[in-house]
């Protein structure tokens, strides 16, 4: 007997079906309801709570914020909400700088990831079959090991008595160790290293579809490999470049672990500011306000772009 048959004939199944029929619910409704309810409660509702607490004030209590509703002295219900936290974010240059420098750091890292990832993706796309799969696997393999430990590996590499400095000193290239850990440079390396597979895979997918006949035609007509690359390959791979860049840029903006472990005390990134506001200052309302602003500045444009792409994909 098949699994489906056994299931539909079982007593608990029939009982449930009968009870649902009595309640006027169809199986279809139930199937829709499970993912719908889960996401409404655990994905959408949290944003309303976030918005509500961003309007509260921090107090020393459990939980550490003022309630939204309160009893006024005359017994009527009062709504306590203020935009104080948002005014604070606008007036304090720290937050503005953190937003701007997150975008700058993510942008620079994305460009480096593109410059390093493009040749690799191109080479893999052109490689003959057994080698191609092996190289592709080698690109993905580090992704399956712990992200935290990969960032940690760079700490040992970049430290003043780390592998790079020790090698350079023993080769006689430098006399004193270079300061690399706790700089923006280390943050760029961390982001590029972590998200390189996300750049390579869409580029590779795009470049394998490239029609070899176009390249042949171009070289037959006398174009140098350089000219062929810049006039044919590069423009045709633009969708791959855009997809890969988005996949690096988006997660890089909100990154916390990389600036916390590799960056210096002056490496400002908005994810780190939010974390410190929550865990160190224990100011939940300001942390919520930072998250709301981040949502509007970072996530909203991305979702808007995605919805445009989806609409284009459907037409």
């Amino acid at each position: 007997m098949s699994a489906g048959n056994a299931l539909t004939r079982s007593v608990p199944w029939r009982g449930t079906a009968w009870a649902m029929g009595k309640l006027g619910l169809s199986g279809r409704t139930l199937v829709i309801a499970i993912p719908m309810l889960w996401l409404l409660v655990f994905f959408l509702a949290p944003f309303f709570v976030l918005g509500r607490i961003s309007l509260a004030e921090a107090i020393i209590a459990r939980p550490p914020f003022t309630p939204l509703f309160d009893r006024a002295p005359d017994g009527s219900l009062e709504i306590i909400a203020s935009l104080e936290n948002f005014r604070f974010l606008i007036e304090d240059a720290l937050y503005r700088n953190a937003y701007l420098s997150s975008i700058r750091i993510a942008l620079v890292a994305t460009i480096f990831a593109l410059l390093i990832g493009y040749p690799i993706a191109y080479y893999i796309a052109r490689a003959p079959e057994p080698r191609r799969t092996i190289l592709l696997l080698m690109v993905i393999l580090p992704f399956w090991t712990s992200f935290l430990l990969r960032v940690y590996a760079w700490m040992g590499f970049l430290r003043s008595n780390g592998v790079i400095n020790n090698t350079l000193i023993s080769l006689g290239i430098i006399d004193a160790p270079l300061r690399m850990l706790q700089t923006d440079f280390a943050v760029y390396i961390g982001i590029v290293y972590t998200y390189l597979p996300f750049m390579i895979l869409p580029l590779y997918a795009n470049l394998t579809k490239l029609d070899g006949a176009l390249l042949e035609a171009s070289s037959d007509l006398g174009a140098s490999p350089m000219v062929t690359f810049f006039t044919i390959t590069l423009p045709l791979s633009l969708p791959g470049i855009v997809a890969g860049s988005m996949l690096v840029f988006i997660p890089a903006i909100g990154e916390y672990v990389i600036p916390a472990l590799l960056g210096g005390p002056d490496t400002l990134m908005i994810g780190r500011v939010l974390w410190d506001e929550f865990f160190s200052s224990r100011d939940w309302p300001v942390a919520s306000a930072v998250a709301i602003v981040m949502l509007f500045l970072v996530v909203a444009p991305i979702m808007w772009l995605q919805s445009i792409q989806n609409r284009r994909g459907m037409d």
Partner: protein, 267 residues
């Protein structure tokens, strides 16, 4: 892009990818406490790791969280993908489409903070979840892992030949039988891939777990992070080597199974 430039760039790229991992493994066998100065071969850090109750305990917490999150994420993600690919019209379709993909682009700090605030508010008004710990981490991980499962399941459901399902329906099978006897077996490889991805993502997560966990439940990444923040420590290298070893073995087994399946397919 011919001649020496391309192979050289690729070689440098792969050195960039693998050099830190290789050095991590090499220095895990270092006698010296200084992680980057070679003091002779030794396995003492592995011994120390196995005696570290905090790390072992948190590893157990992480494995439990990852197991339950992956299971729940496969259920929620597959149902979401199924509903979106097979039911053309229902109320809230657009909402579900948005909610199921949005966790993919949501910064972890926002997901973590907003879920924590939800749990705190729910505890105040409903009395559940009482405190934070394993349950709240599992719920949080399920939500973001379900998005990844849904993407994988959706692409498989779209590719799948729907005439199989139609044929079963024409032969008199009800929707439940069609799902369990036709759809599910066809998409199982995608669900296994989704489960493994969810398991790995959950095992790897630091930020979301830090927000929603309570004092009793520290996951492995949380313990590693608090150790690593104070500087490099050799027992973390030993732990990294063990994890890399597990991943390598898993990849080799998966590769071997795939090759065997391919060879069978040809015969």
């Amino acid at each position: 892009m011919r001649g020496w430039f391309l192979p050289m760039a690729v070689a440098l790229g792969f050195i960039f990818l693998y050099a830190p991992i290789v050095s991590l493994v090499v220095f895990s066998f270092n006698e010296s406490r200084l992680v980057t100065v070679w003091g002779g071969f030794s396995t003492r850090w592995y011994g120390e790791l196995l005696r570290d109750r905090q790390i072992l305990g948190s590893a157990w917490v992480s494995l439990q969280v990852a197991f339950w999150s992956a299971n729940l994420a496969v259920i929620v993600g597959t149902l979401g993908a199924f509903v979106l690919t097979r039911f053309n019209r229902f109320t809230g379709r657009l909402l579900l489409t948005g909610m199921i993909t949005a966790p993919l682009v949501m910064p972890e700090v926002i997901t973590g903070l907003s879920l924590l605030l939800l749990f705190v508010s729910m505890e105040l008004t409903l009395g559940w979840p009482a405190g934070r710990g394993l349950t709240t981490i599992v719920i949080a991980h399920t939500t973001f892992c379900a998005a990844f499962v849904a993407v994988i399941a959706q692409s498989r459901l779209r590719q799948m030949d729907e005439s199989l399902e139609e044929a079963a329906r024409d032969l008199g099978a009800g929707p439940v039988r069609v799902f369990f006897d036709i759809t599910l077996p066809v998409i199982t490889p995608a669900l296994v891939a989704g489960w493994l991805l969810a398991f790995t993502l959950s095992l790897d997560d630091l930020v979301i777990a830090s927000f929603v966990s309570g004092p009793g439940a520290s996951t492995l990444p949380m313990v590693i992070f608090s150790k690593v923040r104070l500087g490099v420590s050799p027992d973390v290298n030993a732990l990294a080597t063990i994890i890399i070893g597990f991943v390598l073995i898993a990849v080799l087994i998966a590769g071997w199974l795939m090759r065997r399946a391919l060879r069978r397919g040809f015969q």
